[in-house]
């Protein structure tokens, strides 16, 4: 048996008391096992809160299960999927959702980028302006919906009051087919334009100054600088912002619920609102699960196509 190794001390010449060496860690507590132990709570949470519900919904989507009626969930194959894909009700809601997504995201992108561009050209008060523009984004959609509902009220709303003072007539913002969807787009744009603005501002700030200086030396016009320097460099970042907003807009529920309840009639019912009705009015859990899975699939496929385009853009 070899002698114990000398122990170093703070004071030379003093002999330290011989303490036993730290016990070797159990073989099971290796670095990798420690890592597993540390990440397992998060993993369990993810499994329990995300993965399991998704798998469970996938299973239910092939059954005729109803949460309130209980009883066994009978397997019905692709019955729910076929019914959803061939339903004229679903087609109508898909069209409404598409119009909403395209309208809201386009408006938000144009406005958001314009505001970001204007702010980026300012040197004073830029921080304050940015913060002020971000306020709507920080509010709860339910709160936003409620106060816009009051503002857009045909009888006592401030919007009609302003129109009246300009000599214009009353507009039934939330109860007419032509204006209800437009109102939803406007409210969503009011709340989420700052998101696009923020991302665009980050992109604009990152454009190297020397490019503009070089262009200025060559006497390039402002439009030329914007078209050949600003836009190409900010474009990929802007497209990511558009992707996020499109996904968000695609699953719009809260504003519809508060502002129009899907009306007049069903003219502002989005896909998410319709899923809610299928799930909680009739408690047709199997159908609602299939509906939800299809919506996830649509988002995944469109996102993949979009990301491929983005990658191609980067490579070019």
């Amino acid at each position: 048996m070899s002698a114990p190794a000398p122990v170093t001390t703070d004071e030379p010449g003093q002999v330290a008391s011989a303490t036993p060496p730290a016990r070797a860690r159990s073989r099971r507590l290796s670095d990798r096992w420690l890592a597993v132990v540390f990440i397992s709570p998060a993993l369990l949470l993810l499994l329990g809160m995300s993965v399991f519900p998704l798998l469970w919904a996938l299973y239910l989507s092939f059954t005729d299960y109803s949460a309130t009626r209980g009883g066994p969930a009978d397997f019905i194959g692709f019955g729910n999927y076929t019914a959803i894909l061939t339903s004229s009700q679903v087609h109508q809601r898909a069209l409404t959702t598409l119009i909403y997504v395209v309208g809201a995201v386009t408006l938000q992108t144009v406005l958001g980028f314009t505001i970001a561009y204007l702010i980026s050209r300012r040197t004073r008060g830029r921080g304050l302006l940015t913060t002020l523009f971000l306020v709507p984004m920080m509010l709860s959609p339910v709160v936003v919906g409620l106060f816009w509902r009051f503002m857009l009220d045909a009888q006592f709303g401030v919007v009609n009051s302003m129109l009246g003072s300009l000599g214009l007539g009353q507009v039934e913002w939330l109860t007419r087919q032509q204006t209800a969807l437009l109102s939803l787009i406007v409210v969503d744009t009011w709340q989420w334009t700052p998101f696009i603005m923020l991302i665009a501002l980050a992109g604009l700030t990152a454009v190297p100054k020397y490019l503009y200086e070089a262009a200025s030396i060559d006497r390039a016009s402002e439009w030329f600088k914007f078209r050949t320097i600003t836009l190409p460099l900010v474009w990929p970042l802007l497209l990511i912002a558009v992707l996020f907003r499109a996904i968000e807009a695609f699953r719009l529920f809260d504003l519809v619920y508060i502002l129009t309840s899907g009306g007049p009639g069903v003219s502002t019912e989005t896909l998410s609102f319709h899923v809610y009705k299928v799930a909680f009015l009739g408690f047709n859990t199997g159908t609602a699960s299939a509906y939800g899975i299809l919506m996830v699939l649509v988002v995944i496929i469109l996102t993949q196509l979009y990301l491929r385009y983005l990658n191609k853009l980067k490579e070019d």
């Binding site: 290796s30 670095d31 990798r32 890592a35 597993v36 369990l44 499994l47 329990g48 993965v51 399991f52 798998l55 469970w56 005729d64 109803s66 949460a67 309130t68 009626r69 209980g70 009883g71 066994p72 009978d74 019905i76 194959g77 019955g79 729910n80 076929t82 019914a83 959803i84 339903s87 009700q89 679903v90 009220d153 045909a154 009888q155 009353q170 039934e172 913002w173 939330l174 109860t175 007419r176 087919q177 619920y257 129009t260 309840s261 899907g262 009306g263 007049p264 009639g265 069903v266 003219s267 009705k277 299928v278 909680f280 009015l281 009739g282 408690f283 047709n284 199997g286 159908t287 609602a288």
Partner: protein
């Protein structure tokens, strides 16, 4: 180096971890399936005929209702009166927004676990709750503890019986799943100072009076009524006009809607509603429900309005009204009358009953039975009437405590023999949504009246016919 470099990368997660994850998923799946809870007896478990021994420990008896004035009235009344008999009990009436009322109750029923002991269900919800076994069958309890002869048979049936009773009747052999809590119907509210002391007697007269009043009083609309596409707002409005003009909602025996709802009388009713009544309403009133109609009346912006009696109390509050600084001043301008008649004298049945959750603990269920027995006593019903509630016992309805409590209480008492309900079937929520959205579409110009009514009939028939459909149910 303290730790030797590994020569082989250990797979993470290894086989054990993967097995553990799989076991976890299976366990969660089994838990989510709810075990044998799903085998709950269809029709609901039976409540005992006699009230079990009550606990003397502190106990909170929870109700669930939607947010409106009667909810607070009930909580205050029950805590003041019931606790005289049962001092260890606290009554809590939990409320949700009206639009979430059905979802809030039935999502908890779906989970087979409720945070309420007594659900205050709309009469039309009973079918869904009974079919799914969510509420107790109290038939035996009622036989032993409740004097059923003290009630108008239809009121007792409407708030508790399933299968649904025929209008105006009660099937004594049918099971009971609830007892009346709050009676209700529509009242016509009219401006005495603008259209005269006497209310219009017929529907046609009412429309003519509203039109004249609107013309003579710029800024005041002729009519105000429920048009929203949430809850059952627009559907009740159409059903009321449909009834008055001699239409029928369905043939309950044959479960037939198509061809019944959209017959000649039905189309006439829809035409009256959309083309004669709607033009007399305020611009932008296409999403009005209880609060908006009350606001229009209180601000003096409507000549004639239709409102649930139980929601009309605030109209007499000077703090909420511009019609007067005292209740008497307001009453000089506002009149309350039963609905005008036309081809029939039908009025909509409103109100709700008390139903005991099948998933409440036994002590709570026992207390709930005791509360129901206490609540349905003659003297308690009169006190409930005096506190602002609308009782269901005939003696309480005819008592001075009730008739003198509010000017619209007599309207309710007079309306009881005229009431008609909607369909009380498990598919109710889908049926009412179809009707609501289509009537709302017609009222707001998104569909023609004829198209809207035909769509309602077709889609509702599809729902009734597709009960038990495999795949795509609910679309």
């Amino acid at each position: 180096m303290r730790y030797p470099k590994r020569t082989r990368r250990r797979p993470v997660p290894n086989r054990t971890s993967r097995l553990a994850a799989a076991a976890l998923l299976v366990a969660t799946t089994v838990a989510a399936c709810g075990g044998d809870d799903d085998s709950a007896e269809a029709g609901g478990p039976k409540a005992p005929a006699t009230i079990p021994t009550l606990t003397n420990d502190p106990l909170t008896l929870s109700f669930i209702w939607f947010e409106w004035p009667p909810a607070q009235t009930l909580e205050d009344f029950a805590n003041a009166e019931y606790t005289k008999d049962r001092p260890n009990v606290t009554i809590k009436v939990n409320t949700v927004p009206n639009a979430n009322w059905h979802d809030a109750m039935f999502t908890q029923f779906a989970a087979r676990k409720t945070d309420f002991d007594i659900a205050i269900l709309d009469s039309q919800h009973i079918g869904e709750a009974v079919t799914n076994g969510n509420i107790l069958d109290i038939t035996d309890f009622v036989k032993e503890n409740i004097d059923v002869s003290a009630y108008n048979p239809y009121l007792l049936a409407a708030y508790g019986q399933f299968p649904q009773a025929e209008t105006g009747q009660r099937d004594e052999n049918a099971s009971l799943y609830g007892l009346p809590l709050l009676g209700d119907t529509w009242t016509m509210i009219y401006r005495k100072d603008l259209i005269g002391e006497q209310p219009p007697k017929t529907w046609d007269e009412m429309i003519a009076a509203a039109e004249k009043c609107q013309t003579e009083n710029p800024g005041v609309s002729g009519l105000a009524f429920h048009q929203a596409n949430g809850s059952d707002a627009a559907a009740v409005t159409y059903n009321t006009v449909n009834g008055v003009y001699g239409g029928n909602l369905w043939n309950a025996k044959d479960r037939k809607i198509e061809g019944v709802l959209n017959d000649q009388a039905g189309h006439e009713a829809m035409d009256i509603l959309v083309n004669k009544m709607k033009p007399l309403t305020a611009k932008g009133s296409g999403n009005w429900f209880i609060d908006e109609v009350n606001a229009a009346v209180a601000q003096g912006k409507a000549c004639i309005a239709f409102q649930w009696i139980a929601a009309s109390g605030g109209l007499l509050d000077p703090k909420q009204s511009t019609l007067g600084t005292t209740r008497d001043e307001i009453l000089q301008k506002l009149g309350f009358a039963t609905l005008p008649t036309q081809k029939t004298d039908l009025v909509p049945l409103g109100g709700m009953g008390m139903h005991i959750s099948a998933y409440a603990p036994e002590a709570q269920q026992a207390e709930a039975l005791n509360f129901m027995k206490w609540f349905e006593q003659a003297d308690v019903q009169k006190k409930w009437a005096a506190a602002g509630g609308v009782p269901a016992r005939t003696d309480a309805l005819q008592s001075p405590e009730f008739l003198n409590a509010s000017p619209f209480n007599k309207v309710y008492a007079d309306s009881v023999p005229r009431m008609r309900d909607m369909w009380n079937v498990p598919e109710y929520a889908r049926l009412v949504d179809i009707e609501n959205t289509n009537v709302n579409a017609a009222l707001n110009g998104a569909k023609s009246p004829r198209q809207a009514l035909d769509d309602i009939a077709r889609e509702q028939q599809k729902i009734l016919d597709s009960s038990g459909k495999k795949g795509g149910a609910g679309l």
